[in-house]
Each structure stands twice: as C-alpha cells, then as structure tokens.
C-alpha cells in the first residue's frame, strides 16, 4: 500500500480582482511532495511564490483547483475545512524569512505556544518544546530571551516552533535569506534532518544560490505555472 503524499496540488489557480483589472497570480500549479521530502520552490519576483505559499498556508482562498494535505482534500473549488485557523495551527508549520518569534516569551514558550494553543497542557507542551530545541541544538538556550539569541539561533527556534504540533507540512519562506553561507547551510541541514526524523514535508521558497544545489527536487514557478526538475541533491 502506497503512502499518501504529504502535499498534492492539482490545477491550482488564483485570480486577484475581477474584470479587466483581474490578475492571474497562479495559472496552473501542480505539486506532489512526499512525507519527509524537502523541495525547493524557486522563481523570480512576482512569479506567484508568495501567493502559492498563502494558498497552501490557508490564509487566502484559491480561485480553482484542488489541494490535498496528508491524504485529505482540504480544497476543491472551495475550502472543505471549516476551521482554517485550526488547520494552520495543527497541520501546517511556518518558517519565515525573519524568525518572527514572540519577543516577550522565552525560547521554550515560543515553541510551546503552539501545542498550548492546540489545547495541550502546559507541562506537556513545554516538554515537547525542550525536546525539539534539543534536537535543533539550541536546548542550552531554552530559558533565554529572544533578544539574547543570534540570528541563526532564532531561526532554529522558529523551526522548532514550526514542528511543535508535528504538522505533515512546513512552509519555509526564504528561511536562509538573512544568514551567511555557513549558517544558511546549517539551517537547510536541520530542515532535512527534521523532515527525515518527523516525516514532515518541507517546501522551501528561496532565491538563495547557496542552498539551491542541496535540493533533490525543485519546483520552478514562472508566470503562475510550476515546472518540476530534479535537483542536484548535493551533500552538505
């Protein structure tokens, strides 16, 4: 029996506006990503990367097509899930260009916040947070304030937060942009390790030439259409 893909997108479209002012940001997007796979999403500015990420992240509604998450159809000409907030909280992880951690919470609580929002008891949520922080080599900064962390450490905490509810999918929007080569590669290595360890599919939107060769599979997006190609899958 074959396992369902973590993400399956078929003929996804997104149109902004109506009539003559309408803009087709996504014209034909097709993607299939397996659990534990890390793929790159590459494209020039205005190609539709962010729109695709927002559709996948259930923050904007596509205009047509179908999206499946972990074998469940979540969009088919309309949302099939009533509580999109819960969908984002429980089944999609987000990593941003800037970490966007909550500055008034310490490292542990930044990560534990997600399980807590999902209703997990505080102690259980914090234990999960400590486990993830240790896996990402920032366990020693668990009690630190966000402002006390380096950029790389903050990004690791952001990755831990994205993994906190064990989502089948993580959307990473240029996660290495503010980092130097060494730190950027470290982050990609961590993403790959986490994907493998937790069987999470990760889509990494990037322009970063340093990390593009590390992907085994890459989706190019141009004029709202996706094209798949095999990556180099170079070792770190």
């Amino acid at each position: 029996m074959t396992q369902a893909p973590a993400i399956l997108i078929e003929g996804l479209r997104k149109r902004y506006g109506e009539g003559e002012a309408a803009v087709d940001a996504l014209k034909e997007v097709n993607m299939r990503i397996e659990p534990g796979e890390v793929v790159g999403l590459i494209g020039p500015s205005g190609s539709g990367k962010s729109t695709l990420l927002k559709c996948l992240g259930a923050v904007i509604e596509p205009s047509a097509g179908r999206m499946h998450l972990g074998g469940q159809t979540i969009y088919d000409q309309g949302w099939l899930i009533r509580d999109l907030r819960a969908l984002r909280r429980d089944r999609i992880g987000f990593v941003f260009q800037a970490p966007y951690l909550i500055p008034f919470l310490d490292v542990t609580d930044n990560v534990a916040l997600l399980p807590m929002l999902a209703g997990a008891p505080n102690a259980q949520a914090r234990a999960r947070a400590r486990e993830l922080l240790a896996a990402l080599d920032v366990g020693h900064r668990a009690q630190a304030r966000i402002a006390q962390l380096s950029g790389g450490e903050q990004q690791r905490v952001a990755i831990a937060r994205a993994l906190a509810n064990q989502p089948p999918v993580i959307l990473a929007d240029e996660p290495t942009a503010p980092l130097d080569s060494e730190r950027a590669l470290t982050v990609v290595r961590l993403l790959n390790r986490m994907a493998e360890q937790y069987r999470t599919a990760i889509i990494v939107v990037t322009h970063d030439e340093k990390i593009i060769p590390t992907f085994k599979r890459i989706y190019h997006i141009r004029d709202g259409r996706t094209y798949e190609e095999a990556g180099e899958g170079r070792a770190f």
């Binding site: 962010s50 990420l53 987000f94 008034f104 919470l105 916040l113």
Partner: protein, 397 residues
C-alpha cells in the same frame, strides 16, 4: 495556556509602570475631585452635627442661618422653651470674616454662642472651654491659632483658650467661637465714628429730640448702640419629642421658620453646594473622558507596535479571543497600576489641600470599577485594529 498579556507586561515592565504612573496621577486627580465633593458634603454634615441641635429656628421665609441671612430677636428663646418637647434653646450668630494673623489674613466663620447651650463646639482637643463673658475664643485648629495667643477681631483682642477639630463652615472655613454678646457686637454694631454720626443725626431729628419728652432721645440712641438680634435659635429636643411636630408648632404659632436635621441637610447638601457639586461632576466627567482617551491611545499604540507578532499569532492559529484577551488584559493591567498609583497619590496629597478631602473606601472601589470599565472600553479600539490584521501579512510578498 501562557498568559500573553502578563508576559508582555513583565517583558516591558518599566515602560508599562511609567505609563501607569502617568495615568495614575490623572486618576489621582479624579479621585481627589471626588474626595473634594465628599469633603464638602462632610463639612455640611459636621456643621449640622457640631451644633448639637435638633431644630434650627430662623427668620420666616428664609433658608437661614447658613444658606441665607436670617435675623431673629435674642429673647425669642424664652417662648421657644415653652413649647412641649424643647429641652434647651441657644442663640447663635454666624459671621464669615477675615482675621489678620501673623502677617496674613485668615478667613474664618465667627460663631457666637451661649455657654452651655446648643451652638457651641462639640469637644475640645486642647485648652479649656470659654469661662468668661467676653474676649475669650475657641478656634478650630485649621485656623492656625495657638493656645494662649491673642487675636485681634475688629475692635477687640481675644485670647484663644481652647482648640477644636473639624468645626468648619459649609465652605470649609474654620470656626472661631466667641461669647454671644461679643459676637452680636461684632456682627451688628457699627464702629465708633458711625455711632457718633448716627447719634448726631438722631439728635437733629425733631421726632426723637422733643423738648417736652425727656429721655426719648437717650433711649433711641441707646437702642442704636446695642443689638438684640441673633441669626438663629438652636433647639435641643427631649428624647421623646417629635422634631417634625415641634417644627410645625414653631412655624404655625411663632411666625418663624424651623428646620429639622434632615431639612437642614437638604438645604446644605442639595441647595448650598449643588452648584459646586455640578462643577465637580463636570470635572469628573471630563477627567474620565481624558483618561479613557489616554488609555485608548496607549493601548492602541502598544498594539500597533505588536502588529507583526499579532499577524504571526493569527497565522499559527491563535484564536481572536486569545488576541483580544491579551489586549484587554493589558488595558486592565494598565488601569490597575494607574488606580494603585492614583489612590496612593490621592491619599498622600489629600491633607495638603486647603479644604477637607474625604476619600471613602466605597468611592475608591467605585473608582476602580469605573477605571477598569473605561480601560475595557478603551481597549476595544485596539482590539478591533488587532482583529483586522491579516495573518497573510506574516508571509512575505
């Protein structure tokens, strides 16, 4: 679940406390305004209580002796004592005046009373009661006079023989008590030059200066040099007497006005200080509006500074009520800090006010609830702004 508001406050507690401090001083002013009103009411009540009277008998058709001028004969008390239920009657005069003291002027209410009768001070905190018929005085401690000090009041010097506390007029002016005869002279008698002038005018009037009526002129002139009027007669009733019935008796048969304690409280609180109370109420309303505007502005600014975090919270699945609760709790926290600062400040600066400021615990509780309500309402603007934040803004592009 983590208390997001509490963590945010702890993270930036310095900023939060200083903001609360500023708001607190404003709340302190608001509480003080309420305290000033309460003080005015309390001053009116102690004025009623201090005299030890159950009935105030004053000139007909007047609201005397505190709210309007009143003048009655000083022998009226004899007939009043004949009314069943009247246990004691005391003549009193009230005169608000300036007294020069230690290079400055003090505004006081001069009270003339009969020793041992209603109208005198309830108790002394230092010194002794007045024992002589003339030139001794008792003073409220707020007047600033010392025991044994000699104070010039118009033509005569008075020795301060005793001190009282919380004996003030309805305006909050401290009282100085002197024997009735002295007070009548101070209030009703003219100065020497005026008397001389009056005598000459009377002597020149053939109606009073008749050759065939010896003694008429001297009698008329004697009348001009003495006073037999007082402002009111204070009655103390027997325990069994009905104040309303006695007052009705006085009104019906003596052609005078008589007020019970509740009547007098109505006159002093509802009529005499009504305008001041409205003035204070206006200030309270304005201060409440200003406080609300300040809280709304502070919370709104604090929320705008967290727009990115709020977008992230919404993106990762925080419910609207979680975000709204965070903002409202911060507003309430700010209000609580402001109230504590305000209450403390008002308590410390109340004694410095020249007039009595009475801070009642129930007013403080009411104030706390109003502050919290204002903060809750003020936070709605920030909550609306936060709830309008699109979680998509957390994602670039």
């Amino acid at each position: 679940m983590i208390n997001l508001a509490g963590r945010d406050i702890l993270d930036g507690w310095g900023k939060f406390v200083f903001t609360g401090l500023g708001l607190g001083l404003l709340i302190g002013v608001t509480l003080s305004m309420a305290g000033i009103y309460r003080g005015m009411v309390e001053d009116a009540k102690v004025l009623i209580d201090n005299g030890g009277a159950d009935l105030w008998v004053v000139q007909q058709d007047t609201l005397g002796p505190y709210a309007e001028p009143s003048s009655v004969r000083d022998d009226l008390y004899r007939s009043l004592l004949g009314i069943p239920g009247v246990a004691a009657a005391g003549n009193v005069t009230y005169l608000t005046m300036q007294i020069a003291h230690a290079g400055t002027e003090r505004r006081v209410m001069l009270v003339g009373f009969e020793l041992g009768q209603p109208g005198g001070p309830p108790r002394l905190i230092a010194g002794r009661p007045i024992t002589r018929d003339h030139y001794e005085a008792l003073a409220d401690i707020k007047a600033g006079f010392a025991l044994g000090e000699r104070v010039q009041i118009r033509r005569h010097q008075y020795t301060i023989v005793g001190l009282t506390r919380r004996t003030v007029s309805s305006n909050g002016d401290p009282m100085v008590f002197v024997p009735l005869k002295d007070a009548q002279e101070l209030q009703f008698l003219k100065d020497n030059e005026a008397l001389r002038n009056e005598r000459a005018r009377t002597a020149a009037n053939p109606v009073y200066n008749r050759p065939n009526v010896p003694g008429l002129l001297s009698q008329v002139q004697a009348g001009q040099a003495s006073s037999h009027f007082v402002n009111a007669v204070l009655l103390r009733l027997a325990p069994w007497a009905d104040a309303g019935a006695v007052a009705e008796e006085v009104r019906r048969w003596k052609y005078l006005q008589a007020y019970t304690r509740s009547d007098m409280e109505e006159i002093l609180v509802a009529k005499l200080i009504a305008t001041s109370a409205k003035q204070i109420l206006m200030f309270l309303v304005i201060l409440a509006v200003v406080s609300a505007a300040i809280v709304a502005f502070i919370i709104y600014t604090m929320t705008l500074n967290k727009i990115r975090e709020i977008a992230v919270l919404k993106l990762i699945g925080a419910r609207n009520r979680t975000i709204a609760a965070m903002i409202m709790q911060q507003a309430l926290g700010l209000g609580l800090i402001g109230f504590i600062v305000g209450k403390t400040a008002a308590t410390f600066w109340a004694p410095i006010f020249p007039k009595y400021v009475l801070l009642l615990p129930e007013d403080a509780l009411r104030g706390l609830l109003i502050v919290l309500a204002i903060c809750a309402v003020a936070s709605t603007i920030a909550i609306r702004a936060a709830l309008r934040v699109d979680p998509a803004t957390a994602i670039g592009g």
